[in-house]
C-alpha cells in the first residue's frame, strides 16, 4: 500500500494525518525492532521459533530421560505435568505455527511478485504480539510453575478448583495474546494473496506454496476466534468467578472440548499445510519436472481446508458424544484421508521419472513423504472409532501426532530452510553437514517415535509420569530415549551448519550464489540473493505457471527441453532506483507489548491493566495518526489513512 513509485508527485487534497515522527533507521537493533519489512519479520519469526524450539526440545528431553527406565524420580508428578504440558504447548503454538508464518511472510509476497504484504505495520504487530504472548507463556516457568493441564487444557481440570496455581492462567492469556497475532496475520496475508498478485498471476498460476499459505491463513482466520472464545470463557471462570465450566452450577465441561477441537482440528491442518506447500516447491525443483497434477494439488489443499472443519469430534470418541456423532465423525475422518492421499500420490508421481538431484532439501522432502504417510496411516486407524477407543490416551496417539507434526511438518520446514537459505542469507548451507543433519534426524526420529506405536498398543498411557518394570514397557522406552538424544543433536545440527557454512563461505571468499542457485521455477529466484530490500526493481509480468522456469527453458520440435536463457541474465539486477518503501514504525511493538501488561494485570492485580490499557490506547492512536512517511516528504501517499479501524 505504500509502494508508490517516485513519479507519483501528486498533491493530497487534505492535510496529511501527521502527528508523530517515524523512525528512520533500518539497521542495527532499532532497525529490527521497528522494521516493517516482511523479510526481516519472516526471519524474526524463524529465529523466535528456533529459540522456542530449544525450550520445547529441552522439555521433551526431560520427559524422555524421566521415562528412560522404570520408577525414575527425576521429575515428580506435578513437575512432570508441567513439563509435558509446556512441551506440547510451546511446540504447537510457538514453534510449528511461527515457522509456518516465517515462510509465509518471507516467501509468499515474493512468489506473487509483490514488494511487501498489504499492511506492513500490521505484519510487524502480528510478529511482536506472537512473541509477547510466547514470552508471557514462558514466564510461567518462573512466576507460576508452568501450565499443567495438557496442551488442550480440558475442563473442568482447568478450573480454579482443580488447578489453583497460575500456570493455567499463563497458558490461557499467553496463548490468547499470541492468537491476536495469528488473527491479524491471517487478515494481512489473505489480503496480500488475494489483492497484491503481480499482473498475470491468476489463481491457477500461483505457486502451490502460495495456495497452501492462503488455505492456512483462512483456517487461522476462522479457527482462532473459536479458541479465543474458549479462552475468554475460561478467563472469566478463573479470574472473574463465572460458571461456564463449573459443573456444580450445571455447566457441561464438554463445551470446552467442543470449542477447543473446533479450533484444534483446523489447527493441525494449518500446521501441516505450509510444509506441504514447501515440499511442493522443493520436489519439482530437484526432480527437474513440473509438479504432477497441479490443479489436484491445489484442490486437495483447499478440500482439506474445508473438510478440516467437519472432523473435530474424532478427538472426542471416548467423551460420550453418542453413537450417531461418533459414526458421522468417523466417516468424515476417513474421507479426509483422500485429499491427503492425493497429495502424496502427486509428490511420488513428480519424483517418478525425474532426474533427481538429491540435495538436503530434497532428502527432507522425501523424509516428509515417507514419515507423514506412516503418521497418516495411524491417523486413519484412529478414524475407526472402535479401534480409537483402544488407542485413545495411549502412546499410539503420541506416535501418530509426532509422525505427522515432527516427521511431517518439521521435516518439511527443514527442507524449506535448506532450499531458501541462500535466497535469505546469500550463502548456501553445507550439503555434507546437511546430510548428517538429515540422517541423524531420521534415525533419531524413528527410534524415538517408532517404538511408541508398540508401547501404545501394549497399553502404555500417555502423560504417565513413570511405570513399573513389571508392565513390560522398559525396553522400548529405553530405545525411545536413546533415539530422542540422537534426535536432539540432529535437530540442532542445522544451527551448527548455518554457522560453519557462513564462516567457510566468507573465509573461502566464495562468490554470491547468484539469483538462482538451484535452477528453480518460481519468481523468488528471478531476483538477487539475498533478496534486495525492495524485492523487485519492477513488477514482473506473469504469463504461466512456473513462469521463471519457462523463461529459462523451452521445448524444441522434438519435445526436448532446451535452455533458452540464463538465470543470471534474466534476473532483475536489484538496483531498484527510486523505489519507495514503507517507513519503520515504533507502534507495532509498543501495541504488542501493552498486551501482556494487561494479561499480568488480569492474573495478579487489576491495577496493572490501567498502565497497560493506557499504553494500548496511546499506541492505537499513535499508529492511526502516524504520518505516511518522513523519509521522502515529497511523496505523500495514503499510508496510515483509515488504519484507525483496522489494527
Amino acid at each position: 500500500m505504500t509502494l508508490a513509485l517516485p513519479p507519483a508527485e501528486q498533491k493530497f487534497d487534505g492535510s496529511p494525518l501527521g502527528a508523530l515522527v517515524r523512525p528512520r533507521t533500518s539497521t542495527g537493533l532499532k532497525g529490527w525492532l521497528t522494521t516493517v519489512d516482511h523479510k526481516k519479520i519472516g526471519i524474526m519469526y524463524g529465529a523466535a521459533a528456533m529459540f522456542f524450539l530449544l525450550i520445547g526440545g529441552a522439555a521433551a528431553l526431560l520427559i524422555r530421560i524421566q521415562l528412560a527406565a522404570p520408577n525414575q524420580t527425576l521429575l515428580g508428578g506435578d513437575a512432570y505435568n508441567r513439563v509435558f504440558t509446556m512441551h506440547g504447548t510451546v511446540m504447537v503454538f510457538l514453534v510449528v505455527m511461527p515457522i509456518g508464518a516465517a515462510f509465509a511472510n518471507y516467501m509468499m509476497p515474493i512468489q506473487i511478485g509483490a514488494r511487501d504484504v498489504a499492511f506492513p505495520r500490521i505484519n510487524a504487530f502480528s510478529f511482536w504480539v506472537f512473541l509477547a504472548g510466547g514470552l508471557m507463556l514462558n514466564t510461567s516457568w518462573f512466576l507460576g510453575g508452568g501450565a499443567n493441564g495438557g496442551w488442550f487444557n480440558y475442563a473442568p481440570n482447568n478450573g480454579i478448583a482443580f488447578s489453583p496455581s497460575a500456570g493455567i492462567d499463563f497458558w490461557n492469556l499467553g496463548l490468547f495474546i499470541a492468537g491476536i497475532g495469528s488473527l491479524s496475520g491471517a487478515v494481512n496475508l489473505i489480503t496480500t494473496v488475494l489483492n497484491m498478485r503481480a499482473p498475470g498471476m491468476t489463481w491457477m498460476r500461483m505457486p502451490v506454496f502460495v495456495w497452501m499459505t492462503l488455505v492456512t491463513q483462512f483456517l487461522l482466520l476462522f479457527a482462532i476466534p473459536v479458541l479465543t472464545v474458549a479462552q475468554l470463557l475460561l478467563m472469566f471462570d478463573r479470574n472473574f468467578g463465572a460458571n461456564f465450566f463449573n459443573v456444580s452450577q450445571g455447566a457441561d465441561p464438554l463445551l470446552w472440548q467442543h470449542l477447543f477441537w473446533v479450533f484444534g482440528h483446523p489447527e493441525v491442518y494449518l500446521m501441516i499445510l505450509p510444509a506441504f506447500g514447501i515440499v511442493s516447491e522443493v520436489i519439482p525443483a530437484f526432480a527437474r519436472k513440473p509438479i504432477f497434477g497441479y490443479p489436484f494439488m491445489v484442490a486437495s489443499g483447499a478440500i482439506i481446508g474445508f473438510m478440516g472443519w467437519g472432523v473435530w469430534a474424532h478427538h472426542m470418541f471416548v467423551s460420550g458424544i453418542g453413537p450417531l456423532s461418533v459414526s458421522a465423525f468417523s466417516v468424515a475422518t476417513m474421507f479426509i484421508a483422500v485429499p491427503t492421499g492425493v497429495k502424496i500420490l502427486n509428490w511420488v508421481a513428480t519424483l517418478w521419472g525425474g532426474k533427481l538431484l538429491m540435495t538436503t532439501a530434497m532428502w527432507f522432502s522425501v523424509g516428509l513423504i515417507v514419515q507423514f504417510t506412516v503418521g497418516g496411516l495411524s491417523g486413519v486407524a484412529h478414524a475407526v472409532a472402535a479401534s480409537d477407543t483402544q488407542q485413545t490416551d495411549t502412546y499410539f496417539i503420541v506416535a501418530h501426532f509426532h509422525y505427522v507434526l515432527f516427521g511431517g511438518a518439521l521435516f518439511g520446514f527443514y527442507a524449506g530452510l535448506y532450499f531458501w537459505w541462500p535466497k535469505a542469507f546469500g550463502y548456501l548451507l553445507d550439503e555434507k553437514w546437511g546430510k548428517w543433519n538429515f540422517w541423524s534426524m531420521v534415525v533419531g526420529f524413528n527410534l524415538t517415535f517408532g517404538p511408541m506405536h508398540i508401547l501404545g498398543l501394549q497399553g502404555m498411557p500417555r502423560r504417565m509420569q513413570t511405570y513399573d518394570d513389571a508392565m513390560g514397557f522398559s525396553n522400548w522406552n529405553l530405545v525411545a530415549t536413546i533415539g530422542s538424544l540422537i534426535l536432539g543433536v540432529g535437530t540442532l545440527l542445522i544451527l551448527v551448519n548455518a554457522m560453519i557454512s557462513r564462516r567457510r563461505w566468507i573465509a573461502d571468499g566464495r562468490p554470491n550464489p547468484g539469483p538462482d542457485p538451484w535452477d528453480a521455477r518460481t519468481l523468488e529466484w528471478s531476483i538477487q540473493s539475498p533478496t534486495p530490500e525492495h524485492n523487485f526493481d519492477y513488477t514482473p509480468q506473469v504469463t504461466e505457471l512456473d513462469d521463471f522456469w519457462h523463461r529459462k527453458y523451452a521445448m524444441d520440435e522434438n519435445h526436448n527441453l532446451v535452455k533458452i536463457a540464463d538465470a543470471k541474465d534474466l534476473a532483475q539486477p536489484g538496483n531498484g532506483e527510486g523505489v519507495h518503501l514503507p517507513a519503520p514504525s515504533f507502534w507495532p511493538i509498543l501495541l504488542a507489548f501493552s498486551m501482556p501488561i494487561i494479561g499480568y494485570g488480569v492474573m495478579f492485580s487489576l491495577w496493572l491493566t490501567i498502565p497497560g490499557g493506557i499504553l494500548m490506547m496511546a499506541s492505537l492512536y499513535g499508529w492511526a495518526l502516524e504520518p505516511a512517511d518522513d523519509l521522502d516528504p515529497k511523496i505523500d501517499d495514503h499510508d496510515g489513512h483509515g488504519e484507525l479501524v483496522n489494527v
Partner: protein
Amino acid sequence: MSEVATATEAHDDHDHGHEEHHSSLGLSNMKLAMWLFLGSECLLFTALISSYLLSKTRFIAELTAGNPDVIRGTLGDNVPADVENGDRLANSGDLLEPFSEMFAEGTVEPLWDIPFTSFSSFVLLMSSLSMVLAHSAVSKGDYKNTRLWLGTTALLGSVFIGGQVYEFTTFFREGLTYQGTLFGSAFYTLTGFHGVHVTGGILMLGSLLFLSFRGKLQKDRAETVELVGLYWHFVDVVWVLIFTIVYLIP
C-alpha cells in the same frame, strides 16, 4: 484468464501515479481486510451464542430439577439462614422473583422486558441509517452533514449502551448476578461482548468526528468512514441475531 493483465495495463495507462493501488480483485486492501476481519468475528459470535444456548438450557434443566447448588446460586445475598448454616438444602421454595417464575414456566422468559429491549434495538438499527447518511455525506464532500450524521450515529449507539447498562443494573438487582449462576455468566458475557463491540464503534465514530472537526476527514478519506460503517452495520446485524435468539425465541 487474461482479463486481469489487460485490466491492469489499462489502469496503468490511465494513471501512472497509482501503481500502489493496483489490486488483483479491484477492491481496496483496507476494505478486503475489513471483510475478512468481520468473517472472523462471525465465528467469534457463533461460538459465544452456542455457549450461551448450551448454558441457558443446562441452567433451566438444573433449576427445574431442583439442583440445590443452582438454587443457592440464584439467591445471592438472600440465602436463608438455615441453608447458610447447612441445616437444610436449598430448595425451589426458596426461589425469589423472577427465578420462581422461571422455575414454574421452565424458561428464562420472565426476566425480559421485551418492550424496553425492542426500543433500544430500534435505536441501534436506526443508527445504521445515520451511518449510511454519514458516508454518503462525506463522499459528496458535505462535511457539515458528515459531522451531523457521525454524531447522530455515535449518540444512538450511546443510547443503546445506556439501555444496556440500565438493563444490566435491573437484572442484577433482581438477583441475576455474573458469578451466581451459569445463566448469569452466559447472558452477561454474550450481551456484554456485543456491548463492548458497540463501544469500540462509538470510539471510532468519535475519532472520525474529531478528525472531521480538525478538517482532516475529507472526501478522499470517505473509505475510512465506509470501513467504520461496515463494522457498525455488522455489529447491528449481530444484535438482530442476539435479540432474536436471546430475547424472542423461547
